[in-house]
């Protein structure tokens, strides 16, 4: 048996694809997104992050966070943040060197933003399959408003870390490139864990889609049914078309969107 883990993304309307500032990572994407149960000791790790519009290089920071998490031997959000922060000066240095090389020196209006550092939300999760192969456990950690939804054939089992559409605003908690305070990070870090059964599905997404999902749920439209069907063999093109339709209807806020689906075997 095998499960699958796929990520879909789409930049904000009016932006170019290079301006997409969310990020995602899957520890072992496997062949065409199908991960094998045994390839990584029956574990799968995934991460989603959303770089803040108002900071410089926030897409780079979001990407650094998610890839750091999925490449760690013993992943943990706090450790991941510390490691990504340690690598950040090099990322900024490389960016500045690239600009110099391209003969596009840093402009006056970029300097304060680069000094201020970058910000992003971060949501990480790990799935461990029991030896039986029919059930398992999961853990998740989050800072900010990127969300995880655990869904089964019977409905939504858990929403994490937010569970109501009204909880979204433009000032979520964010992980900063320079944050040194473990106490502050712990204060804003949410944790959840649970069990899953064969056939369950998890969706990890950034705020616009998470707010869409919870709004639909509150209106009783059972959005998990749609997403379960939608992500069955979905292509990037199909996802982009669905997003365009929801944006056009006014139901989905115009923002970068990322949907990471984990279907358990």
């Amino acid at each position: 048996m095998r499960g699958d883990a796929h990520a879909y993304w789409c930049q904000k309307n009016g932006s170019e694809s290079r301006e997409y500032e969310d990020a995602f990572s899957i520890s072992d994407p496997g062949t065409e997104g199908f991960w094998s149960l045994t390839s990584e000791g029956r574990r799968l790790r995934v991460a989603v992050a959303d770089g803040a519009t108002e900071s410089m290089l926030s897409g780079h920071w979001a990407s650094a966070l998610v890839h750091t998490y999925t490449s760690m031997a013993q992943p943990q959000l706090r450790r991941c943040v510390r490691r990504a922060q340690a690598a950040w000066p090099q990322i900024v240095g490389d960016y500045k060197a690239e600009r110099e090389k391209a003969d596009k020196p840093i402009a006056w209006y970029e300097e304060p933003g680069l000094d201020r550092g970058a910000h992003a939300t971060l949501l990480v999760a790990e799935f461990r399959l029991d030896p039986s192969g029919f059930s398992g456990t999961w853990t998740a950690e989050a800072v900010g408003d990127s969300c995880l939804f655990h869904v089964t054939d019977n409905g939504m089992k858990q929403a994490f870390p937010l569970s109501h559409a009204a909880q979204f605003d433009s000032s979520p908690a964010l992980v900063h490139t320079g944050l040194r305070s473990r106490r502050l990070l712990d204060k804003h870090r949410a944790y959840a864990s649970g069990t899953f059964l064969s056939g369950d599905q998890f969706f990890l997404c950034t705020d616009a889609l998470a707010a869409w999902f919870l709004t639909q749920d509150e209106q009783g439209t059972q959005p998990w049914l749609l997403w379960r069907a939608l992500t069955d063999g979905l292509s990037q093109q199909g996802f982009a078309e669905w997003i365009a339709g929801e944006r056009a209807s006014g139901r989905l806020k115009n923002d970068d969107v990322t949907l990471l689906s984990v279907r358990l075997p």
């Binding site: 309307n13 932006s15 519009t53 108002e54 900071s55 209006y109 300097e111 910000h119 939300t121 000032s171």
Partner: protein, 278 residues
């Protein structure tokens, strides 16, 4: 719900600044440092444009989430930009960022990470110089602002409503501006009425005030008049004001007396804010 329209490059918002440059702005105001009113106003304007630019700066350049006009009034009424933008009315923010009159070097003290402070040189752009010359044709200037706002909402009917910020000592020489300001505030996009905010720079003394909810503590008729022609702060802006530690009440208006006005830049949402954990 009003004041919720997306602000993006595809659906930009506009700021119209109206700056008093009349002879009375030559007068000094007290407080911690004695300064000419004209200096206070041009500093406030340069600071506002600086903050707005930084808010919209990304790796690939400054994004045109906003278009900005700066109208000066005194001996003449017209664009107050100095340097390459002189004479221009509505200018996309990316052009404002690339075309200051000059870049000055200023020193600021920043924490050194070991409990002390260290001096750092930063570049500070200047778009407006202090000017104090001529009468105070406030009505004429606000009429021009109304015209620009009218044009904007015609061309961008679903944009976030235009924001007009008027910086003055309040001493109009061409009559009471109440009617023309009512005209500005009656202009609509599908997202709500245009907003008019006032910064009163005054030598009358009294306590500086930021977004007061009544005029009882204001020192003179000019401040009371300007308070009266300021828009009530929309609810989400009150929330941002409170988040910045300012107190707001039921009747809070977009009026500032002898205090920093640059916080209004933070009242506008362009996406996820870059706020540090607290």
């Amino acid at each position: 719900m009003p004041y919720t329209a997306e602000i993006s490059r595809a659906n930009p918002a506009c700021f119209v600044f109206v700056v008093d440059q009349s002879t009375s702005m030559e007068d000094q105001i007290g407080g911690e440092f004695v300064q000419r009113k004209s200096q206070v106003v041009s500093d406030a304007m340069n600071r506002l444009l600086y903050e707005l630019t930084l808010k919209c700066a990304k790796e690939e350049g400054v994004r045109d989430y906003f278009h900005v006009a700066v109208i000066g009034y005194g001996a003449t009424v017209g664009s107050a930009f100095a340097g390459p933008l002189a004479g221009r009315d509505m200018v996309p923010l990316s052009e404002i960022a690339s075309s200051p009159a000059r870049l000055e070097e200023r020193t600021k003290k920043t924490p050194d990470g070991a409990g002390g402070l260290v001096e750092q040189t930063v570049k500070f752009p200047v778009w407006l110089d202090p000017v104090s010359d001529g009468g105070t044709p406030m009505n004429q200037a606000l009429s021009k602002a109304r015209h620009l706002v009218e044009q904007w909402v015609e061309q961008h009917p679903s944009s976030f409503p235009p924001v007009v910020l008027h910086l003055t000592d309040g001493e109009s020489t061409d009559g009471d501006p109440t009617e023309v300001t009512r005209g500005i505030m009656s202009l609509l996009s599908t997202d709500g009425n245009a907003l008019l905010f006032n910064l009163h720079v005054s030598g009358a003394g009294g306590t500086p005030a930021t977004f007061p909810d009544n005029d009882t503590q204001l020192p003179d008729s000019f401040s009371k008049m300007l308070f009266g022609i300021s828009s009530p702060l929309p609810e989400h802006m009150k929330n941002y004001a409170r988040a910045q530690g300012l107190s707001t009440g039921e009747g809070t208006r977009g009026f500032v007396y002898n205090a920093d006005v640059s916080s209004i830049v933070q009242f506008l949402d362009i996406g996820t804010r870059a706020s540090d954990l607290r």
